[in-house]
Symmetry: C2
Subunit: 261 residues, 2 copies
């Protein structure tokens, strides 16, 4: 081969890229000074790849590291008594989908790749060390988990008190806003690799109902969904259909970045 040890060279550069991306992500809402940046630089993440459908962590596991998503989509899920799956949240580039395992030793849910995924694994030990060095970093990570919780809350309301079309529209709104925030959207489209069965497992609806709800949104020219991509055709109408108000995402658009005193 012409190139020598491309794997090793890429690995190093990818780790640095990962740390930089973490900084960028935290900076969206929190103060990241030189001190915090240095604390981050002390981390030695391990880059891992997972293919569609693979589990990153399983319910009952006791992980010793948390992942940060570099690309692709991950989903947290419960497995119910009857063996069916309920997705709890969908995660994209820039998310920390299992940061809670830092303090909740045993996983109460699983984490699966919904697409080809690249993550940076951050050892808990290093994360704790970094956070002890920098309270601002602690607060920034904490805040990540709090936004997570706000998204969970919205999912409760979505599954609990909205009709099938509203639910679907709301989910798609959320995905698009989050993709924009993470700057992985392509114009008015973004990647959305779930099939209709998985959408149903996210929204607590049967595949048939998902299909019919999708058709309504398509017929109304709100969205299109094909080839693993979500296309927003009429954002305002879609928001109305889903009763969507992005305040709960606590993005910079709604409140200026948070600063520690």
């Amino acid at each position: 081969m012409a190139r020598k040890t491309p794997a090793a060279r890429n690995a190093i550069s990818k780790e640095q890229q990962a740390l930089a991306l973490i900084g960028t992500q935290l900076r969206r809402h929190s103060t990241v000074t030189d001190k915090e940046a240095n604390a981050l630089q002390a981390l030695s993440p391990e880059i891992k790849n997972f293919s569609k459908g693979e589990d990153i962590v399983r319910q009952g596991d006791k992980p010793v590291s948390s992942v940060f998503i570099l690309s692709g989509m991950l989903g947290r899920y419960h497995t119910t008594g009857s063996g069916s799956r309920q997705y709890l949240s969908l995660h994209i580039t820039g998310d920390f989908p299992d940061l809670q395992s830092l303090f909740l030793v045993e996983m109460d849910h699983g984490l699966a790749a919904l697409d080809e995924v690249e993550v940076a694994c951050l050892p808990h030990k290093q994360l704790r060390k970094a956070m002890l060095d920098s309270p601002a970093l602690t607060f920034a990570f904490w805040r990540e988990t709090l936004i997570d919780a706000a998204i969970f809350r919205q999912a409760i309301t979505n599954n609990g008190s909205r009709s099938s079309v509203e639910r679907l529209a709301h989910l798609l709104c959320e995905q698009y806003v989050r993709a924009r925030e993470a700057e992985i959207n392509v114009g008015t489209s973004t990647g959305f690799p779930l099939n209709q069965t998985q959408i149903g497992q996210t929204l607590g609806m049967s595949i048939v109902t998902v299909n019919r709800a999708l058709q309504q949104l398509r017929r109304k020219k709100c969205i299109d969904l094909r080839e693993g991509k979500l296309f927003i055709l009429d954002w305002k109408k879609l928001q109305r259909e889903g009763n969507f108000d992005s305040a709960y995402l606590h993005t910079a658009l709604h409140a200026g970045p948070f600063h520690v005193d």
Copy 2:
């Protein structure tokens, strides 16, 4: 009256009691050394009472303090586009139902008293100061919000993929286990002040469905619910009915207390 200035005397003692209770609560799962205890002692909580139905905080508010529950029950809720209410979580003695407002400036949900309630208000400024003094305290508070999130996740699954009877049984299981953990149960019963309408707003079910689900659980001699109290008649059967596994509550029963390195 025989007693002089009982309000003033009680206020002081209640504040101390509140701080002691916070310590007890955190000790259930985290290390609270003298250092943390001292950091807590530096707080000057304000005791407040709310009566049934009152709002403690409203969606859109920007609170400058967080509450700690001394007695009674609080509920977090969303108000949907159509004006109806969706309860997100129920909180009891020893909970911090709006700790997230420390870092998420604007409330994305409301907090209402579901009963006569006594809370200790903890100013954010003081909390931040205490946490800067003690990383272990920070981690303990963080962990509180993470368990919150685990409960939210379970509610997603509950609202998304369980039948009406399962949902109700699961909710009651959760309430009872949490009451036991907080040591506010009375034998196999605990306070549960929600009426059937409110249970419906928690589980995303109509009041009629709640009523019928309740009757099933009563007929099966799993529980009784009257006078604002929940009576557990057959715990194992109730757990089975609700597919309930308490692992997600991350109580000491499931994993030893968490200790910072």
